[in-house]
Structures are given as structure tokens and as C-alpha cells.
């Protein structure tokens, strides 16, 4: 009963991701990416991961993809005559990628996973996440802040007009 909704969302997500990967125009690829991210956020909600869904929209769709679009426009990218890489690479990539997908699906199919556990009403909210984040994962949290600092500095330096 609920399943059809999931199937619909899944198909839409796959379609959007295909747009990202296959479309000639990079701007359309970026738009495809936004769509994919939104749909993923919906799927997160379906998994009771409300905070993560919100973060997905804010951070990913709202910041990262915007960054992409800025860069695309900054570079004034045009549609290229040849979209795809040389044939051998395309073939190999498609085959290997396909194989990876099939293999993973095969593994999943072989060992059936249990149904979802029963969770309390606060699951997926800010408080449980924060509780986990600031106790058991406090060190990665702090390190991540350092990482972000480094990234900021790197991006600023690398983005300068002239690197002397």
C-alpha cells in the first residue's frame, strides 16, 4: 500500500540522476542534481529522518548546488560538441558501473534484511541527533570544524585571480 509511493519516488529519483549524468547542458545537469536531492530529502522523511532531510535541503540543495551553478556561470560554460568521453572509456565505464550495481543488488537480494525496527516518536529529530553528536561523536565533530576551516582557507586561496 505504501509501497507504490516509494516506487514512484524511486523512479523519479533515478530519472533525475540520469538527467544529471547524461544531459548535454551542464546547467541542466545541475538542475537534475537539485531535483535528485529534493527527492532524496523526501525519501529521508519517509525514513523518519526529519532533521537530516532538512539539512539535505539546506546544505546540499541550497548551498552546494548553488555553488556549482555559480561556477558554471562564472566559467561561462557552453554546451560542448561532444558530450561523452572516448568510446572505450564509455563502454568500460558503463560495463563496470553496471556490474557494480548488479553485484550490489545481487548481494542485497541474497541476504534479506530485517524489517524496520520499532522506534519511538522522537526518532530522527534534533534532540536524539544532537545527543549522539555531542557525546559519542564529539571528536569527529570538532575535527570536522577544523576541516571546514581548512576548506574555507583553501577555497579562498585557490579562488584568487592570480596565484603568484
Amino acid at each position: 500500500m505504501i509501497a507504490p509511493l516509494f516506487v514512484l519516488l524511486a523512479l523519479l529519483t533515478v530519472a533525475a540522476s540520469l538527467v544529471v549524468v547524461l544531459h548535454r547542458n551542464p546547467v541542466y545537469s545541475a538542475l537534475g542534481l537539485v531535483t535528485t536531492l529534493f527527492l532524496l530529502a523526501v525519501l529521508f522523511v519517509g525514513l523518519d529522518a526529519h532533521l537530516v532531510a532538512a539539512l539535505q535541503i539546506i546544505v546540499y540543495a541550497g548551498a552546494i548546488v548553488v555553488l556549482f551553478l555559480f561556477v558554471i556561470m562564472l566559467l561561462n560554460l557552453q554546451v560542448e560538441p561532444r558530450t561523452l568521453a572516448p568510446a572505450p572509456l564509455v563502454v568500460t565505464g558503463a560495463v563496470l558501473g553496471g556490474a557494480l550495481g548488479v553485484a550490489t543488488l545481487g548481494v542485497l537480494g541474497r541476504d534479506p534484511l530485517p524489517l524496520a525496527a520499532v522506534v519511538g516518536p522522537g526518532y530522527g529529530g534534533t534532540e536524539p541527533l544532537a545527543e549522539r553528536l555531542f557525546t559519542a561523536y564529539i571528536v569527529p565533530f570538532e575535527l570536522t570544524s577544523v576541516l571546514l576551516l581548512v576548506a574555507i582557507i583553501g577555497a579562498v586561496v585557490l579562488g584568487k585571480k592570480r596565484l603568484s
Binding site: 505504501i2 523518519d48 532533521l51 568521453a85 553528536l133
Partner: protein
Amino acid sequence: MLTLAPPAWYLALSAVLFAIGAMGVLIRRNLIVMFMAIELMLNAVNLAFVALARGMGSMDGQVIVFFVMAVAAAEAAVGLAIMLQLYRSRATINADEVTTLRW
């Protein structure tokens, strides 16, 4: 509360998205689009983590997703800055035209 579908289906979707992303990295010339495909792969992994977290009833998976997002943001910032520089010096962002670091 029940989920939309059993977590296993989500994992299957995650696998498909990951494969599509992987193919995307290899198929396209444009470095920006390749980067987008990488972001796609990261999101596929996020999906998997959230699904498994829900499956086990734990929040740890979502914490990891939190970190992945932070890292992806940092990575996107730096990576795009590099591509800016690359464009400025080489006037191209085609993967097969930036191959000087070779044998």
C-alpha cells in the same frame, strides 16, 4: 511508525544511484559534471546510511550522514576553486585535455 517501504528497498535504490553516479564519472568529459556525479554517489551513500539507521533503530547512521554532508560541502568548495584555477590557466575543463601529470 512504519516506513514507506522496507529498508532493503532503499538500499537497492542506493545501489542503483551509486552505480549511475559511478558511470557518470567515467562517461562525461566535463569536469564539473563529473563532480556532480560524485555528489550523486555521496548522496546514494547517505541514503544507505539513513536507511540502515532506521532499520536498526539507531541514530548513529544519521550522525554519519551529518558528517558526510559537512565533508561534501568542504570538498565541493575546494574542488570547484581548483577547477576555477584550472580554467584560468588551461582554458578548458575537459578531462582528457588536462593530462600533463603523466609518464
